[in-house]
């Protein structure tokens, strides 16, 4: 993404959403590192990392703190949705199934089929809207993850409390669910999400829209043609155009992005190494 620095840009994400995404990156990377230490404790890397985190106890504390952060992001987001509902005078139905809702709808299915046809050279590129189906998938993966990993995580955090209601062996089951679901989340985010969003050749090496919230109008037009056309038709595009950030901010954002990408890939490499060479 290149921009000449003076042209106005399209504002895709609110300030709160951007902040939440940054916190989520920090929380998610912390959770994955401290969690993988335990999952792959039999590798030398795990031992080294556990020492870097100041021991397994402090690693455990970081893990739990990051988990609380993640809950916090989740709750804040839900509150923000209801705030938006009130602000824009939306009914619950409009909130859930409206034009810009994250809920899957018929268009997503059409886009998915259209996309497959396009991949295979049997049709044009679909006319993507504000949220594509893969973005929605990533979004709901977080819901699913928070529910599955979060609930089992709480059981492992407070086993003495939970075993008042559930049998002791369920803690073993919870361990497997927690750890494998986490592996799925980490693996998915650091490969599929990374590719879909950042490493796709036209976005390579990364798309910083989620940090700045801004994208060039030209790029917006190309990426989300349906939304663009709608805004132009309604004559509302101007409402969403803002001044771009200073180059220093962009630079800082890139450093942060690079760091997150590097850690994410390292974790993937470590997981693959652990699974292939030292699995037990």
């Amino acid at each position: 993404m290149k921009h000449n620095g003076t042209e106005k840009q399209y504002l895709r994400f609110t300030r709160l959403n951007r902040t939440l995404h940054i916190i989520m990156i920090v929380s998610f990377i912390s959770l994955s590192l401290t969690g993988m230490i335990l999952k792959f404790s039999y590798t030398g890397w795990a031992v080294l990392l556990s020492h870097l985190f100041g021991g397994f106890e402090s690693a455990g504390n970081i893990h739990r703190f990051a988990a609380v952060m993640m809950f916090g992001i989740f709750v804040t987001h839900i509150i923000d949705l209801f705030r938006m509902k009130r602000h824009e005078h939306l009914s619950l139905k409009e909130l859930l199934f409206g034009k810009n809702s994250m809920m899957f709808n018929r268009k997503d299915w059409r886009d998915f089929v259209g996309n497959l046809k396009w991949f295979l050279g049997k049709g044009p590129r679909p006319n993507y809207g504000r949220w594509t189906y893969w973005e929605k998938f990533d979004y709901f993966a977080v819901f699913w993850g928070i529910f599955v990993i979060g609930s089992t995580g709480l059981m492992l955090w407070f086993p003495e409390f939970f075993t008042r209601f559930i049998p002791g062996w369920f803690i073993n089951v919870a361990t497997i669910i927690h750890s494998d679901e986490a592996l799925l989340a980490v693996g998915f985010i650091f490969t599929v999400h990374f590719f879909n969003t950042h490493l796709r050749p036209e976005k390579f090496p990364m798309d910083i829209v989620v940090f700045t919230g801004r994208m060039d109008v030209e790029e917006f037009k190309n990426d989300k043609p349906e939304e663009y056309e709608e805004l132009v038709a309604k004559g509302e595009l101007e409402k969403y155009l803002v001044e771009p950030y200073q180059p220093i901010v962009i630079k800082a954002v890139r450093v942060f992005g690079w760091t997150a990408l590097t850690i994410g890939f390292s974790i993937v490499v470590w997981i693959i190494y652990a699974m292939i060479f030292t699995y037990r």
């Binding site: 290149k2 230490i37 335990l38 999952k39 404790s41 039999y42 795990a46 031992v47 556990s50 020492h51 021991g55 397994f56 106890e57 996309n115 497959l116 396009w118 991949f119 295979l120 590129r125 893969w134 492992l156 086993p159 003495e160 409390f161 075993t163 008042r164 559930i166 049998p167 002791g168 062996w169 803690i171 073993n172 089951v173 361990t175 497997i176 669910i177 494998d180 679901e181 592996l183 799925l184 693996g187 998915f188 490969t191 599929v192 590719f195 879909n196 796709r200 050749p201 036209e202 390579f204 190309n222 037990r280």
Partner: protein, 657 residues
Amino acid sequence: MFKRLNRKIFSHFSRAVPLFVCIVIFFGKTFSQENGDCFSCHNDNSLTGTKKGKTISVFISEKKFSFSVHSSLQCINCHSDLEGKEFPHDEELQKVNCGNCHSDEQEKHAKSLHGKAIARGDKLAPQCFDCHGKHDILSAKDRTSPISPLKIPFTCGKCHQEGTKVTEQRTIHQDHIIENFSESIHGEGLLHKGLIVAPNCASCHTAHSILPHTDANSSIARKNIATTCTKCHAEIEVVHRKIIKGELWEKQEHVLPACIDCHQPHKVRKIFYDQGMSESDCMRCHDNPNLTSSKDGRTLFVNFEEKQHSKHAKISCSQCHSEVNASHLRPCETITKKVECSSCHEEVGQQYQKSTHGELFAKNDANGPTCKECHGTHNVLGKTDAKSKTFPTNIPKLCATCHREGQKAAVRYTGEQHQIIEHYRESIHGKGLLKSGLTVTATCTNCHTAHSVLPKTDSNSSVNESNVPKTCGKCHHGIEDEFAKSVHSSLITKTDKPLPVCNDCHSAHTIRRADEQGFKLDIMTKCGKCHEDIAETYFDTYHGKVSQLGYTKTAKCYDCHGSHDILRITNPKSHLSHDNVLKTCQKCHEGATRKFAGYLSHATHHDPKKYPWLFWTFWGMTSLLLGTFVIGGIHTLLWLPRALQMQRELRKKKNET
């Protein structure tokens, strides 16, 4: 059966016939046998019988018997097993028990050196008849009796003189006993002058209660020797106090020399002092620092001062260098052998002989250490003396002279223990002894013993696995008790598989404090050596994973199972028994409930039969994972070519603008 029974008469009969005749003659008759009945057969000097497969003469001279002290007795009084038996009787007779009549003597004999040797099954040990004879036993008053005063030296000499099996195969600390005795004032009186009141062997050693001088009950024990000598030399002690005035009495209060300190056993001469055998006589030459051996040039200087401060301050030169002969101008020229410490330190000497050190020495191996290598010679100090080489804190250094890496003992050693000394110094025992200066801490000799040092493969070794618990238990007694009741004790578990002993978990020379991190982390691999599956599944659970990261603040094997007191979980006393398991969990998990204890601390998701829930959960999750990645992966891969195409178009567009 008698092979020959009046063969002259029955010679024309076949072998079986005389037997048959005998049976016919005496068949059915029961009577009390007269001696004449016995001698009717046994007075025949060609009569033979078999004993343990060997043909022996069973001739008994009726004449000799009639002169013996037992002539008034009936044969069956001694051969009581023959009473009422038919003739001819069974060949294998029971041994005659002299103690039936002579119970006192027999009791003394049984407690004596000789009696104990018989009890051990020593074939060379003398029985009653070896000294007294059998059917021809004569009174000690009879000059021809082997136990008459004049004959006793010869009777004893049958075994105790140079060249006999006893002197060659058994350890007798005195040499040339009979020779020396015959030259001594006692022997001269007895053998040359025929004074039957002169002491013979039994006068000093007693007849039946012969004991080594190291035995406190012995007539020749140091504290008893005066009593023994004063049996004849009644006033000698008084005489000595008068005559040898001044010497030890005045120098060292309350110290009385024993007779033998001056008058050596078997060599007693009245002119002893005239010929010079006192310490000062030895020191006349050996005080010279330049005195050397004419044979090998080694120094023969003796630091008398050092000797007087040694453990042997009260022992005179000639007591150790016992081969000296006072009748020679240079009494020491008769010395042929090295000093034999075991003549006093008998028990220790026997232990040493059986040890690896002693065996090497016996094989003339130059590497085999003798007493002096560890204890020194004239400067020998007790192990309680801090300056002694055998004082606890000095022992590691002493053993290290040979057992340090590269030294002579370490070089020939083929086992697994290396850097023994270095490891010991860093061990809990080494630190206790050498850094904290605790002399009660285990040093080399506490585990390996001082004199019975044997390799651990020897079942008699103190460090053999069967003896290790006992050896460690000498100090760690409470733990030995606990361990003996645990599943790991061979007393409880009967199995062909090797059971662990102390050193399998604690190691030998590298032994660490059990509350140190290193030990705590190591214990899992130690237990895992035998409990492979259990250890592996442990590492699949939270506790195991945390330990694997190198942290100890989590449950390790012994936190749940106990350490020395590991019991089967079916045992109500086990830490993991139904009644105790919750308490065990609560040690760390304070609020744990009964359900909490249902946690599977050795769970694996690889066993569908034992843990179906875990197995199916794992595979359910794995399928979800694989499914998601496959769909996501294909989607991404299909996208790639289009994305590249788009990138090219975008660039083109950009270049155009």
